[in-house]
């Protein structure tokens, strides 16, 4: 098999490729991210950024206590984030556990949300500690239930013990399960990979193995989508595009709760990967609380004052 003509699928060729990547200087990456965080986004550009961010939210519930009722409520919110204002765009996707996929899909279809895809977390999310057979079944199950996007986790234990070939093979297999039916997002859990060098390696590994998106975190481990981690991943998709001509998406998830945080992410995208990535096709934000803050800031821009939180719906 050939993977973009860059590696042949053997662990050796993968390691050869990953080892020639340049290192990331921690101080430098963090200071670049900190500098971009000082960008001041006002008036018309803030309004544009808020709507764009809303359209990029993967509205997420991943709790043991999730019920059909909770998931349906979230679906309604996803389609019409602000029931009083039809100019608010729908979110990017709904993100749920495997067993909630069909409930979400059915409900979305029944309320005019046919265009909102359902993403399922997969491969023994969040730890990834299960056999390959179980991971494949997990994924197949979600696709059969109507998931159009699969958010798989990598085996961090394998990654940290240097078994990069194993991590690669798992992604390749899940990619095959997804086929044409589902987009594949690969979650690194950057809070467990820890170093930026690892984040860069994981990014290339996942892209070569067929990821459509690379995603920072499960939301279960802190730190998650810190700006420098996202910066390093955006550099990776930018450079991968110039290598292969294919644009891979990026999804920060975890810890992005406020409009300010979201706008900082959009600035990172704009000035690192470039404006081509400022679309839900190529950038998503995994979040739950964020959406309400975006809505409140949007109302504030229209009305000139902050409304009570009772004017946005709880989900």
């Amino acid at each position: 098999m050939s993977f973009y003509g860059l590696v042949d699928g053997s662990e050796k060729s993968l390691l050869n490729f990953l080892n020639q990547l340049s290192g990331v200087d921690q101080v430098g990456a963090e200071s670049r991210a900190a500098m971009l965080a000082t960008r001041s986004i006002k008036t018309t550009s803030k309004r544009w950024a808020i709507d764009t961010a809303i359209s990029m939210v993967d509205l997420t519930t991943l709790e043991g206590a999730d019920t059909p009722g909770k998931v349906k409520a979230l679906c309604s919110k996803a389609v019409r984030p602000d029931p009083t204002d039809s100019t608010v765009p729908s979110v990017g996707a709904i993100c749920v556990y495997n067993d909630m996929v069909s409930i979400a899909r059915t409900h979305l279809d029944s309320i005019g949300g046919e265009k909102v895809p359902v993403a399922a977390v997969s491969t023994a999310f969040p730890s990834g500690r299960a056999s390959m057979d179980v991971k494949i079944r997990d994924t197949q199950d979600a696709i059969d239930a109507g998931a159009a996007e699969i958010d798989m986790v990598i085996d961090r234990g394998a990654f940290l013990s240097g078994k990069l070939g194993l991590v690669f093979d798992e992604i390749v297999k899940i990619r095959q399960v997804c086929g044409e039916k589902a987009h594949l997002k690969v979650i690194f859990e950057t809070g467990e990979l820890v170093t930026y060098d690892n984040v860069r390696k994981a990014s290339y590994l996942a892209m070569l193995a067929g990821a459509d998106f690379i995603k920072t975190s499960t939301g279960k481990v802190a730190p998650a989508a810190t700006p420098p981690v996202v910066l390093v991943m955006l550099e990776a998709v930018r450079d991968f595009y110039s290598l292969t001509g294919r644009r891979i998406g990026v999804k920060p998830a975890g810890g992005i709760r406020t409009t300010k945080d979201a706008i900082k992410q959009l600035v990172l995208v704009n000035e690192t990967a470039g404006p081509e990535w400022l679309t839900p096709e190529l950038f998503r934000i995994g979040a739950s609380a964020l959406l309400n803050d975006l809505l409140m800031q949007r109302m504030k821009m229209d009305d000139g004052y902050y409304a009570s939180p009772n004017y946005v719906t709880i989900d």
Binding site: S22, G23, V24, D25, V27, G28, A29, S31, R32, T38, R39, S40, I41, K42, T43, T44, S45, K46, W48, A49, T52, E235, L266, V267, N270, E271, P275, L278
Partner: protein
Amino acid sequence: MTFEYAPALEPRAIVTIKPKYGHFINGSFVSGKRHFPTINPATEEILSHLSLGSASDIDKAVAAAQKAYTKTWSKLSGKERGKYLYRIARILQERAREFAVLETLDNGKPIRETRDIDIPLVAAHFFYHAGWADKLDYAGLGHSPQPYGVAGQIIPWNFPLLMLAWKVAPALATGNTVVLKPAETTSLTALLFAEVCQQAELPDGVVNIVTGDGSTGATLVNHPGVHKIAFTGSTEVGKKIARAIAATDKKATLELGGKGANIVFDDAPVDEAVEGIVNGIFFNQGHVCCAGSRLILQESIAEEIIEKLKVRMAKIRVGDPLDKNTDLGAINSREQLTKIQELAAIGDAEGAQRWSPQCNLSDKGYWFAPTIFTGVTQAHRIAQEEIFGPVLSVLTFRTPQEGIDKANNTPFGLSAGIWSEKGSRTLWASQQLRAGVIWANTFNKFDPTSPFGGYKESGWGREGGKHGLAAYLKTGRESGGK
């Protein structure tokens, strides 16, 4: 629609600029006889008129400094001097925004830099030196080192208030008094600093500020009442000062020009190196004596770095310095713009390849797009002469030793940067480079605890850190055997 950043202007209402300024002598403002305009280089708007310091103004200022030295400042304990410095530092922090806006208006540098770099560093210098004032006996300079008396200080226009802080803070901490001559085009923050001295109730005459041009500075250097000269500026003027004080007992520190080398090895962290190259040459419009104005790339990665550098340069936001999203502001003066244009034209004529991203530059004010020249060799003038603008010369090398040799092949020796992920290579290279400041995997980072200064024609002495204190103190037998 794309993500255009709407204008995000820092309000200028916080600053009050008087139509006319005098000198600050003996604790009060004294009008000079003749005045000259000072402008905002981003708009060419006249901001105010400054007094042109004459010989008699300098006389008065030096006399005030001498009197303050003998009557008050030398009688105070280090602890008491420290209190004044702490007070000044706190006021500078409290009025940071005002200083940042004024510096941006007067100098043309972006508000992001004055707000996040210049003014915080200014306060840090005063805090740092305030701490030394009562500990000079323990600075490793021998027992009871003594001040010289009156320090004559001449500062440049590229970091107006920061250079004032580099000069004034150590001078006062060590017990000297000061006559300061700010740069002709950028005196306004120094005059606002004079107000801070009043607000801090600093004893009259401890800090005196005389505005003016080169002739005012020359008068100060030659004044017999001045015991120590501290100058930051061009090598040309530095040499004149060295000649002027030869055969006198005046001490001097000279912080002069540079042609800093940023050496990128093939094992560098590429993305951060590109950031460092940008920060090295486009920080402060390249008006930085220690700018990384020569990029020396290992040939095997040259193409990749240049390509990434161009992509990054296209993101540099050139425009209104008061806009919080501006990265590159205005060139400080018409004179400097002309000099940059002339040297860039020489680069073209010598056959180097010029490249700049698309920039919409304003018709008003002085602007120069970020520029790189590739295909530069040691034999090009743009590889040898300080341009002092946003212009980068790119050279290549084959082996590490060749890289070092090219970096050192300059009459200057102020700064250098090394980019490598290999610790042993970085240590080796830093031992070979003849430059006063060497950065590893970063560039243009400053801290009051770190001595700064040059080798060769980049100057004499160090500023900052313990080494910087030594420049303002008589030690050993010189200190009178105390």
